[in-house]
């Protein structure tokens, strides 16, 4: 690290090098935080969806299985010990405005934290005013809404892509206040939709018909391409239908640069696609347990040397090297299924929510910085010693 610092001072190397090295180190050392957690929200129940706002990277929005919504502040750590992210506001499921059933997707409005959108199994998409905590608008659909997404890079449109039980994807124009476009192409329920992070008109969708389609919303005819897991070299000729997976596709994620797309299917596979060519890059990540019927949140890191993808694997989180497919780490902490994870790109922290009603904080292990800090702090001394005592071996002498 010192070497990087000096070389940066002398200007002998790219200034981003230090940052990249440090970020990589921190990501690689992610582990379950022993001392920091997120205030538990009774509104949530099972945690289905998480999102961090992209303006300040400060507010964590979470949607729960019982219809509640909560917002945590990731900057403000109250109290001396700075142990807990406080919940600043929440919408309990008992509220008249809240979703009647499970919330499946939540998303901040990409340009302002004054607005966020949620959707769920009660077939409603709601647009919320954050400050009033009241829905500004609400759209009803014919089927369960599995996923919706707003383009993070759009400047020319404010469309929400909605994937629901019906096979058509609807695009809702917030300015018009109704859906403006329908995208037909899937044969079955659309489990996940994602806008490209590169091109504001490109949309990807994964469905339970095993297919992943890429759309250009300017093109009226249909999808621009259907991703084929065999790259057109299918062994059996009779199978003309292009499939991305051999199971439902319930996870989608563009890389930060928008050049690659990661899909996750119930065939326990993760696939990396080139968004330009639509080719399967055939990276083998191994088998990752996935039997979900709804969308799973997967996320990709930014700004570090090898991109890392974080995927829920049943009750664990897996960290993979995106381009090589090697497993970096297994994060164990949840019980039961993990539903979603979001990566905080500034702090290199990871937040994950699962069916055990927890939102867990994964921090880079900081070489016992925290413990040293506590050691100095005399108030915590007794607490600290007891914790040390708990980690020691206690072989009693009578065992001899």
């Amino acid at each position: 690290m010192l070497k990087f610092l000096t070389s940066r001072e002398s200007g002998s190397s790219d200034p981003s090098l230090l940052r990249r090295a440090e970020v990589t180190r921190r990501i690689y050392s992610l582990e379950l935080s022993k001392h920091r957690d997120i205030e538990k929200s009774n509104a949530l129940g099972v945690v289905n969806a998480l999102d961090i706002d992209s303006i300040e990277n400060r507010y964590l929005l979470s949607g729960g299985g019982n219809g509640g919504i909560a917002i945590h502040d990731l900057e403000d750590l109250p109290g001396e010990d700075k142990l807990r992210y406080r919940q600043i506001c929440h919408i309990p499921n008992s509220s008249i405005n809240a979703h009647k059933r499970s919330v499946e997707t939540v998303q901040w409005y990409p340009l302002d934290t004054g607005l966020f959108t949620t959707s769920g199994t009660d077939k409603e998409l709601k647009v919320w005013d954050t400050n009033k905590l009241l829905p500004a608008d609400s759209y009803s659909f014919e089927g369960i809404i599995y996923s919706h997404h707003m383009s993070p890079v759009s400047t020319k449109h404010s469309l929400i892509a909605v994937g629901c039980e019906k096979s058509t994807i609807k695009l809702i124009d917030l300015r018009a206040g109704s859906y403006s476009q329908m995208l037909k192409g899937h044969k079955s329920a659309v489990l996940c939709v994602k806008w490209s992070t590169r091109d504001e008109f490109i949309l990807a969708s994964g469905s339970s018909d095993n297919g992943v389609l890429l759309w250009d919303i300017r093109k009226a005819k249909g999808s621009i391409m259907s991703l084929d897991q065999h790259n057109g070299e299918a062994a059996s000729a009779h199978n003309k239908v292009k499939t991305a997976h051999n199971g439902r596709v319930n996870g989608l994620c563009f890389t930060d640069d928008g050049l690659h797309l990661v899909t996750f299917g119930t065939d326990n596979r993760l696939r990396l696609w080139n968004t330009n060519t639509g080719k399967n890059s055939l990276v083998n990540y191994g088998s990752i347990s996935n039997d979900g019927r709804k969308s799973l949140g997967i996320s990709v890191t930014t700004g570090n040397c090898p991109d890392v993808i974080m995927v829920p694997d049943d009750s664990n989180l897996m960290l993979f090297n995106l381009h090589e497919g090697t497993r970096i780490k297994i994060l164990r902490g949840h019980y039961n299924q993990v539903n979603c994870c979001v990566y905080h790109c500034d702090k290199q922290e990871l937040y994950s929510g699962g069916n055990d009603r927890n939102i867990l904080v994964w921090l880079p292990s900081t070489d016992d910085v925290y413990e040293n800090c506590i050691k100095i702090n005399s108030k915590e001394k007794s607490n600290f010693t007891s914790r040390i005592a708990a980690t020691t071996d206690t072989w009693s002498d009578e065992d001899d």
Partner: protein
């Protein structure tokens, strides 16, 4: 502390470890064997890598589908979890699997049978998790998460568990406290009793001691007593005597045959002294002493010279060597020491029946209370003292006499020591009667002799018969003829004895009718199967008794008089483990067949045997592969029928046995399912059986219908 210094696993230790784990988990007991557990912990202590190995072993064991295995396994896990940080780390990282296997949080994977055990497993695990959480929660985040998960998602009520454990603890404490109180009360009572009784006991001890001292002087006292021998009058008939030349000190003792049931008459018989071994001598010198001793003797003692000559001694200036047989030492009771005996007896009885029992009770309570060490010591001392004294007095038969006196009091000894009835004449068998002559023994001074114990009465002791006027000895006495006949008479007895020992064998009808065999009476068969009167001719039936019956009468069995010869050879067939069969059979080894000559390596020596063996082996292999039996086919058939035809019986027998042995301590889960209902269901709902029954019923129905309505159109066709 366990160090991580050892970097590689020792294979032997690992195997040992898995062996221990297997032993513990297959024991089927609810508690873990402490010694095995200690051994296991000792291995784990060496290094963390052993802990890891143990963890993997345990987790794989935990997956077994048997609640008992899981329970024992969980107990080991609990132990190690409390000990090792490494183990905690590992377990916590796979905590969900652990919970699935022990608490059964996954509905798809319910806990295995037996249900009762799996319930305890669940309860115990939750209890432990509660404890773990309290103890280690701070350091292991995932443990806390798991705890919260169980609490919030699986609705496990930990508060209840904690409360319950608290309540349990309180209840235990309460019970303990009550016990303590009761014990204290007991202790107080005992201490009170002790203060009352200990002085009593001490006096009793001194009493017994004194009595014993009086009755049995210690050898040191003898010489002193010689001077003033009037003092030792109390020791009556056995007291120390001195002949006037006084070179030898003699002690006279009374052996068993000195007692005489009719001692009052013995004044006439005191002239037959020379009986060797048992001598009763009274010194003429000590006549004054003797006169006190024995009133019976008084007439004799007056005339000392006569007395001496009565003993067959010319003068008194002989040295007398008197052998004392120590094993039949009995102190006689007389008028003078009667009181001492009585007191001794009383106090010994008291000690035996009351004090010693009390002592054991007291000691029990005192040791339980765990206090008053010096008191316990004191008690133990007292007890041992009393015990030795009582033992001593019993051993010396000092009390026995007394026991006999008051036999009505002493119910315990009634069956052992029966006092002879007054005027009881032992019935002397004929052949023994002559022996009385040699057993002649005078017992001059037994007034109380009739109160003897049975023990004193032995077959050899025939001295009584001298007193019996009908006995030959008595007659001889009268005539003054003495012992010349002794020798022949003994041989005679022997002869008569041997005559008596010849067994008498009853002779059968064949010998009875030796000369005319036809006359052997056939056994009569009375056909008495009803109580109805019948004419006499029916009795002729006895003629028809078969030859068989006659034969049964005429045959005799003779027992083989030969001697048992132990087998001196062993089978010595080579065993698969390299040794030779060590069974020692006369003709045939149950495992290896007929015993044949073999050389050192166990190979048969004679060629015939070799050939036979080869043939046998061939037969065996053929039997195994019996050509008409096709194992696979049989198995298929069995699979289809669901019935065991025995195809596996010949093949996997050994294996099956072994398996059973391995799991014999565990409850058989299959056995639980094997209920009578299940077995019946299998039979009743068997497809073929069902088909058969329905077709029968259908046929019956059809027949009935056809018979009744056969001519109707509706039923014309089936």
């Amino acid at each position: 502390m366990a160090s991580t210094s050892a970097s590689c696993l020792d294979h032997n230790l690992c195997e040992e470890m898995s062996e221990y784990i297997e032993k513990i988990t297959l024991s089927g007991q609810k508690t873990v064997d402490e010694s095995l557990m200690k051994k296991l912990k000792k291995i784990c202590r060496i290094s963390d890598i052993y802990v890891k190995h143990a963890y993997h072993l345990l987790m794989s064991t935990l997956e077994k589908d048997h609640a008992e295995i899981r329970l024992s396994c969980f107990k080991i896990i609990d132990e190690l979890f409390n000990r090792s940080h490494c183990f905690r780390d590992l377990l916590v990282s796979e905590f969900q699997t652990f919970l699935e296997l022990t608490v059964g949080i996954n509905h798809d994977l319910p806990l295995p049978a037996p249900i009762a055990i799996s319930r305890t497993l669940r309860a115990e695990t939750l209890k432990s998790i509660q404890q773990w959480f309290e103890k280690f929660g701070e350091a292991y985040k995932k443990l806390v998460l798991g705890y919260n998960f169980l609490k919030s998602c699986k609705m496990v009520d930990f508060n209840d568990i904690r409360n319950r454990t608290l309540a349990e603890r309180r209840r235990e404490e309460e019970i303990e406290r009550k016990k303590r109180i009761v014990l204290n009360q007991k202790l107080d009572k005992v201490l009170k009793e002790m203060t009352d009784m200990v002085p009593e006991i001490e006096t009793c001890i001194t009493e017994i001691e004194n009595c014993l001292n009086l009755l049995v002087p210690k050898p040191d006292d003898f010489f002193i007593l010689n001077e003033g021998d009037t003092d030792n009058d109390d020791y009556i008939n056995h007291s120390a005597l001195q002949l006037n030349s006084s070179v030898i000190e003699t002690e006279r003792m009374c052996t068993n045959n000195s007692e005489d049931p009719s001692g009052s008459k013995n004044s006439e018989t005191n002239d037959n002294m020379p009986n060797e071994s048992q001598v009763e001598d009274q010194s003429g010198e000590n006549s004054d002493a003797d006169s006190d001793n024995d009133s019976d003797m008084e007439p004799n003692l007056n005339d000392q010279t006569a007395f001496v000559s009565d003993f067959g001694l010319g003068t008194r200036k002989y040295n007398l060597d008197i052998k004392i047989s120590s094993d039949n030492f009995v102190i006689q009771e007389t008028e003078d020491n009667k009181d001492i005996f009585r007191t001794l007896h009383d106090s010994v009885q008291l000690a035996r029946k009351k004090y010693l029992l009390k002592f054991t009770k007291w000691l029990e309570i005192l040791t339980k209370a765990g206090e008053n060490d010096d008191k316990v010591k004191h008690l133990v001392d007292l007890k041992s003292k009393l015990k030795t004294l009582v033992d001593k007095s019993v051993e010396m038969k000092l009390t026995k006499e007394a026991v006999a006196i008051e036999s009505d009091e002493d119910e315990d000894s009634e069956f052992e020591e029966v006092p002879e009835k007054e005027g009881y004449e032992a019935e002397v068998p004929l052949y023994l009667l002559t022996a009385t002559e040699m057993g002649l023994k005078e017992d001059p001074k037994k007034k109380r002799g009739r109160k003897r114990t049975v023990k004193d009465w032995t077959m050899g002791n025939t001295s009584t018969s001298t007193d019996d006027p009908t006995s030959r000895a008595a007659n001889l006495h009268k005539l003054g003829i003495t012992d010349e006949h002794n020798q022949p008479s003994t041989s005679k007895t022997k002869h008569s004895k041997s005559q008596n020992s010849i067994p008498i064998v009853p002779f059968g009808p064949d010998i009875e009718c030796w000369e005319n065999q036809d006359k052997i009476e056939k056994p009569m068969v009375l056909k008495n199967d009803s109580s109805i009167w019948r004419p006499a001719e029916f009795e002729i039936e006895k003629d028809s008794a078969s030859k068989h019956d006659v034969k049964a009468l005429t045959t005799r069995t003779f027992h083989y008089p030969g001697k048992f010869v132990p087998v001196s050879w062993s089978c010595r067939t080579p065993l698969p483990n390299g040794s030779l069969c060590q069974r020692m059979d006369r003709e045939k080894c149950p495992f290896h067949g007929k015993i044949i000559g073999r050389d050192k390596t166990g190979q048969p020596t004679s060629e015939n045997d070799v050939e036979l063996k080869i043939k046998e082996q061939l037969l065996k292999t053929e039997g195994k592969m019996a050509d008409w039996r096709d194992h696979e086919l049989e198995k298929d058939i069995e699979g289809a029928l669901g019935i065991d035809l025995g195809s596996s019986s010949s093949k996997g027998k050994g294996k099956g046995k072994k398996k059973n042995k391995k799991y014999e301590n565990l409850t058989d889960v299959k056995e639980i399912k094997n209920t009578s209902r299940n077995r019946l269901e299998k039979k009743v709902f068997n497809r073929t059986a069902m088909k058969r029954v329905t077709s029968r019923l259908d046929a019956a129905d059809y027949k009935r219908i056809r018979d009744k309505f056969g001519n109707q159109f509706n039923y014309a066709h089936k």
